[in-house]
Amino acid sequence: MSEDFLQISGLCKNFGSLAVLKNVTFSVRRGEVVAVIGPSGSGKSTLLRCLIRLETMQRGSVALAGRALVRQDADGRSHYPPESETRPLLRKMGMVFQSFNLFPHRNVLENIIAAPLTVARQPREEAIAAADRLLAKVGLTDKRLNYPFELSGGQKQRVAIARALAMNPEIMLFDEPTSALDPELTGEVLRTMRDLAEEKMTMLVVTHEMSFARGVAGKIIFMDGGEVIEEGAPAAVLDNPRHPRAKAFFAQTP
């Protein structure tokens, strides 16, 4: 139960001459929820994007389930193994974005079954049955045939979560899933995420929701300027930050 499922070691990422991630090292255990907190521009999104390969990293390694997603050589430089090796590993990851990124031309059900049909090549009936179970789970059975533009932000995000879950990921990455929502709509999304955590889904969550981090996360990573400057149990990091920049951040954030 306590194996390191995701291991990030010495991750460095630059955009040109701008160093955005500097030697980021931490791991996530199977079934654990890790919250990533930090000021704007500290590199939280970039970190998730490097993990799921929306960005390439320059240094460091990433391993998932004990297998290399990104290797590093003796000098620490990153190398990407052939796609045939990493494709099945990437399939173990799901991601939810701040901006949902639902397919506007497809209804809710079609959004959810698109990847199971095309990527996982599931039979249609099976994909639909699974989608209906997921819709029930996120409480949107009645929106099954609606289009994204007909949904509220909170409903869209729950569809996005269901869509990611339809690929049966073993770890879910969330990049500020509630930041684009009106305050009264964040609750329904956080509740869905809490349910997932209770089912022991492994989750890496970038969030500004301190109460969610405190209540659900087993570990908090605090980032600033591309570095992890605090790491530990929520109570320790949130109530007794050691680093002055972390102290300043939590002083401003309720």
Partner: protein, 214 residues
């Protein structure tokens, strides 16, 4: 009215040629334009440069000159014995593909990057992403400008006349000079107007079909 009965069969045979040019040009230029747009946005530098040059060439010179060039020089030079109609359709297809390529490129680029990212994290390959997610949305966005080109094409077909293709205009012109009366041009006008009216209606229907979201 009797005069109409005499000239209309001729005009119809001319209109058939006009529609043939129109129809085949669309059949060839739309897919070619799409291919140019997709590869023009790819990472292959040389290919991209070639496509930029292609588009510049075909949009930067008069279509009439292109027809002359293909008919009087390119086809003879290549030793191809094509007929005039084929030469016209070939030139029109190449020319319209350049315009469609620009329209499709704009359409593809207008799709939010988040759509690609959403697909990537679900495991879609690039071709799957394009086919299932990007292009269906592009169709909706490019329909109005594509409609514009389609309407323009109806009238551009008249340029075929320049190398002696017996299209609607050519028939009208020869009839007019044979009979010393110009009202046959009025019939031609009616053909063009009727064609564009029908096309406008079809395009509107197509836009309505894609209005089901957003």
């Amino acid at each position: 009215m009797e005069y109409a009965q005499i000239v209309i069969p001729d005009l119809i045979s001319g209109a058939k040629i006009t529609y043939t040019i129109f129809f085949f040009t669309l059949i060839f230029s739309v897919p070619l334009g799409l291919i140019l747009a997709i590869f023009g946005l790819s990472r292959f530098r040389l290919l991209k440069a070639a496509i930029v040059a292609y588009i510049w060439l075909f949009r930067g010179t008069p279509l009439l000159l292109q027809i002359f060039f293909v008919w009087f020089w390119l086809l003879p030079y290549m030793g191809v014995s094509a007929n005039r109609l084929v030469a016209v359709i070939l030139t029109f297809s190449l020319n319209y593909a350049a315009y469609f390529a620009e329209i499709f490129r704009g359409g593809i680029q207008s799709i939010d990057r988040g759509q690609y990212e959403g697909c990537h994290v679900l495991g879609f390959t690039y071709p799957q992403t394009m086919r299932l997610v990007i292009l269906p949305q592009v169709v909706k966005r490019v329909l109005p400008p594509v409609g514009n080109e389609v309407i323009t094409l109806v009238k551009d077909t008249a340029l075929a006349f320049a190398i002696g293709v017996r299209d609607l205009i050519r028939v009208a012109q020869t009839t007019a000079s044979r009979d010393f009366r110009v009202d046959v041009y009025l019939y031609a006008v009616v053909f063009y107007l009727a064609s564009t009216l029908i096309l406008t209606w079809l395009l509107k229907k197509a836009e309505q079909r894609f209005a089901y979201y957003e």
